[in-house]
């Protein structure tokens, strides 16, 4: 009798713990649906071309969009792309091609540590370095700060992709007497281009929704401006401003902006999943 009782207890315990684990997973996912569902409900009605093409209207009028913020985001993310991506890809190539060296290990470790650093530190860093020197907040500084945020992510993504390329391809090219730098440039990188592209897109999507570095660099601008030496608006900054202001029309724009941001993040992730099964998303 005693033995049967014990076995039963173990089974009950087993079911209980497995159940708890399953429950916590579904609790997490329920939160996801709560957040996304609520935002979709609130913002979908305001989603139209006006949001991307029209300027905001004065408080009290209806309609209007956030064209200046969309443009500002594009400009600064573009700047970050120009500044950060070649740097990141270069570091990634170094990590993948010259693995095993002490320096490589150190760089990889630094990249991982930098990935986990809060973006506020990048903002302050660029503030002290660029904004103080230029005596003004500027979109250029914003782009620089964002490029620091994406660089380690791009580097590690690139490294992962390059590692997937078969060794034999490199060896075949080297056996033909092609110098190593040309092998990397003309054989390895084109082969990995799609993967690197997805990695870069994911990294860019990550910073497009993060206004924190911009608080210290690009600040904000309520008007249309494409001058990169001046403060510039951006989508997440405007969402923040609208959300903390007490106007219903602003809230509406904030919700719509959020939908745009979520789309910006989820679509590349879905694409990565479909185009490259087994691709690991970095965080």
């Amino acid at each position: 009798m005693e033995r049967f009782y014990q076995i039963d207890l173990r089974k009950i315990w087993d079911w209980l713990m497995v159940g708890l684990c399953a429950l916590s997973t579904f609790a997490l996912l329920a939160i996801l649906f709560c957040v996304l569902g609520y935002i979709a409900l609130q913002g979908i009605s305001g989603l139209s071309m006006d949001f991307f093409t029209k300027m905001p209207v004065p408080v009290g009028l209806s309609g209007g969009g956030a064209a200046h913020a969309v443009a500002g985001s594009l400009v600064m993310v573009g700047l970050a792309c120009i500044l950060g991506v070649p740097w990141g890809v270069a570091v990634g190539v170094f990590l993948a091609e010259y693995e095993g060296s002490r320096l490589g290990d150190a760089v990889r470790f630094t990249a991982d540590v930098l990935t986990g650093m809060p973006s506020i530190t990048a903002g302050i860093f660029i503030y002290t370095l660029v904004v103080v020197e230029m005596q003004s907040f500027s979109a250029l500084a914003g782009g620089l700060a964002l490029s620091i945020v994406i660089m380690p992510v791009v580097a590690r993504n690139t490294e992962e992709i390059l590692r997937l390329i078969p060794r034999s391809m490199r060896e075949a090219a080297l056996a033909l007497g092609i110098p190593e730098w040309r092998v990397i440039l003309h054989i390895v990188l084109p082969t990995a281009a799609r993967g690197i592209g997805i990695g870069v897109t994911l990294a860019l999507a990550g910073i497009a929704g993060d206004p924190v570095p911009l608080f210290f660099t690009a600040l904000n601008n309520h008007y249309w401006s494409l001058n990169i030496t001046q403060p510039m608006a951006s989508l997440p900054m405007e969402i923040f401003r609208y959300a903390t202001a007490p106007f219903a029309a602003g809230h509406k724009l904030a919700w719509t902006g959020s939908i745009a941001l979520i789309g910006l993040v989820i679509i590349p992730m879905l694409a990565a999943r479909i185009l490259m099964p087994g691709y690991k998303i970095r965080r």
């Binding site: 916590s24 969402i239 959300a243 999943r273």
Partner: protein, 290 residues
């Protein structure tokens, strides 16, 4: 890139030096933050960061560990990758979105339902006293928990998947139940990596800025009540930086940023070391752990 980290530390250090020289260590222990008189002490902000982070880990810890174990061990193969992908999405949603959701959904919910309820039934505890504003420490803790739990889950899951199959098979062969396999053979083996994952979540919670700023209320008070409005190191930076015209005020803010930088740097280094060690156990550098 290594140079970049050193450069960052140096530049921020230099910019904070007026405040470093003036206040030194007492900066950490003084409650007086008065830009008009030129007195600065960061205690309320440090306190706010510590408490909100602790609260977030307390709330997020069990759920994320459970979810990670489920995803790595128990989930049926067919739904496993879909569920993991959803957790990844949860981790990738920009923080401004959580902030927005926090302001419009979580805060009213807390203000009119949860906080009065807690106050009525657990009001004898010092944590649940005072009027309910909605915004405050509790809201910040919950938002942070929501934001860090997918990260902890995803990293822990990857760590758990490194545990060799033979480890599990040995336990199963002895007639252990599924849970016993996890408890005796898997979790101890992955222990260090899981602690690393939690440390990573901790670093993210400390550095998290925007969502917290939107829901914590931004008042530099020190109170034991979770209903009270509070302030964190990151939120004071966001709120005051563009308005700081006095050089000393700005230096004090950058001083806070310096503390933040150093603390998160140390935390991240520790976390990565612990996670890497899991990889070394199996095969040095060959396993890609994130």
């Amino acid at each position: 890139m290594i140079m970049l980290v050193i450069l960052m530390a140096l530049v921020i250090w230099q910019e904070a030096s007026p405040s470093l020289q003036r206040f030194g260590l007492s900066f950490l222990f003084s409650r007086d933050w008065n830009p008009v008189k030129g007195n600065f002490g960061a205690l309320p902000y440090v306190f706010g960061t510590l408490v909100s982070t602790f609260l977030a880990l307390l709330l997020a810890g069990p759920i994320s560990l459970g979810a990670a174990v489920f995803l790595a061990e128990f989930a049926p193969r067919r739904i496993k990758s879909t569920l993991s992908f959803m957790v990844d999405i949860l981790a990738a949603v920009p923080s401004i979105i959580y902030g927005l959701w926090g302001v419009f959904v979580l805060v009213p919910l807390l203000q009119y339902t949860v906080e009065p309820f807690l106050g009525r039934h657990l009001g004898f505890l010092p944590f649940f006293q005072g009027p309910s504003y909605g915004v405050g420490m509790l809201a910040a803790g919950i938002i942070l928990a929501i934001m860090i739990s997918p990260v902890i889950t995803a990293v822990s899951r990857e760590v758990l998947e490194i545990v060799p199959v033979s480890q599990r098979e040995a336990m199963l062969a002895m007639g252990a139940t599924r849970w016993e396999v996890v408890r005796v053979a898997v979790l101890p083996y992955a222990g260090r990596g899981i602690i690393g994952a939690f440390t990573l979540g901790l670093g993210k919670a400390i550095g998290e800025t925007l969502a917290v700023t939107m829901v914590i209320g931004n008042r530099p008070d020190i109170s034991w009540s979770l209903f009270a409005q509070s302030h964190t190191m990151t939120s004071v930076l966001i709120n005051e930086f563009s308005e700081a015209v006095e050089p000393l005020h700005r230096a004090a803010l950058i001083h806070i940023a310096l503390l933040l930088f150093l603390v998160t740097l140390v935390i991240n280094i520790l976390a990565r070391l612990m996670i890497y060690q899991m990889g070394w156990k199996k095969n040095k550098w060959n396993v890609s752990i994130k």
